[in-house]
């Protein structure tokens, strides 16, 4: 009986230092996660996410995206930012090259940009750039009409957004 009590006391004293949480394995996970996230971290450059369902074409182009107005063309509609502007059916049925609803929205955006530019110093003014995020399956006719409308809207440059090929 005495021997049994002695064993129990020893077991109690041995267990005293092991009451804290073991954080080593959690630290391993966090370290791996930190390196993974650091690898995909972009400092500085402009980032954008295409609307859901839109698949950009793959390309070997390596120019980084700059801050600009983004027009997305998916299988059904044309969007500025995340705002619906016109359907592809409307764009296809427009008589000439100009897509009227897009032209009207671009005119409003350009007016806003001009107002902002008027308040800025000349050195801070940026060229008016439009980035087109087109789905890989859209037809050239739609793209051409959008580019023509953008050109008529007084925007200086056009950039086509693509996915970088691995």
């Amino acid at each position: 009986m005495r021997r049994f009590r002695g064993r129990r006391r020893r077991w109690k004293t041995r267990g005293l230092g092991e009451t804290g949480l073991s954080l080593t394995s959690l630290m391993d996970i966090l370290t791996c996660l930190l390196f993974f996230v650091l690898k995909s971290f972009v400092a500085g450059g402009e980032t954008t996410v295409p609307p859901p369902g839109l698949e950009l074409p793959a390309s070997t182009a390596d120019k980084a995206m700059v801050t600009s107005l983004v027009i997305a063309i998916d299988q059904d509609e044309i969007l500025i930012g995340s705002e619906h502007v016109a359907t592809l059916k409307e764009a296809a049925e427009s008589k000439g090259m100009l897509i009227e609803p897009l032209a009207a929205r671009l005119a409003a955006v350009r007016q806003q940009m001009d107002e902002i530019a008027g308040q800025q110093a000349a050195a801070q003014r940026r060229p008016r750039i439009v980035t087109i995020q087109g789905d890989e399956d859209i037809e050239f006719a739609v793209l051409q009409k959008v580019m023509y409308t953008v050109n008529q809207g007084g925007f200086d440059d056009i950039a086509l957004a693509v996915l970088k090929k691995a």
Partner: protein, 165 residues
């Protein structure tokens, strides 16, 4: 010294040698959500390019380059044409791979032709891609990639006058 007192002393000298990881973990827990929010998992690049040309004859003639190098997309072939360049016809074969809009044979033939033209006219960096209205965007981007790889980085898009011609 008795065995009992020795045992007491050894239990008093017990030192906790575990690393204190909690402050480091707190830093990690703040850092990881911050980095996750600014991380980019899809790498988006851009192709800067010229505006599409008007399809009427008058404006097209005003913006002609001396070489006028162009790839014309036809339903059955790609035509590489230009002033002083022998017209080259490359069959437009349907690609079996959905990820590759151009068939490998057509891509290699186009690359060979464009490299030849770029070597014989090193001053020229421009090329026009004259696409039909039903040409898919992915195919146009693939043609621009081929032209860029051949040393013709300044691609312009142009619509052909009638569909499929």
């Amino acid at each position: 010294m008795s065995a009992q007192s020795r045992r007491l002393r050894s239990s008093k000298q017990h030192v906790n040698c575990d690393l204190e990881l909690r402050p480091l973990m707190n830093v990690f827990i703040v850092l990881i959500p911050m980095l996750l929010m600014s991380a980019v998992f899809i790498e988006i690049r851009v192709i800067e390019m010229s505006m599409p040309r008007a399809v009427d004859g008058t404006s097209a003639s005003q913006i002609q380059t001396p070489l006028e190098l162009a790839i014309r997309v036809r339903p059955d072939a790609y035509l590489v044409e230009g002033a002083g360049v022998v017209l080259q016809t490359i069959p437009r074969v349907a690609s079996t791979n959905a990820k590759q809009p151009l068939a490998p044979e057509a891509a290699s033939a186009l690359t060979r032709v464009l490299l030849g033209v770029a070597a014989s006219h090193p001053e020229n960096k421009d090329i026009r891609i004259i696409a039909a209205s039903d040409t898919h965007y992915q195919e146009i981007v693939a043609l621009m990639d081929l032209a860029r790889a051949a040393g013709l980085p300044q691609a312009a898009l142009e619509g052909s006058v009638s569909k499929g011609v």
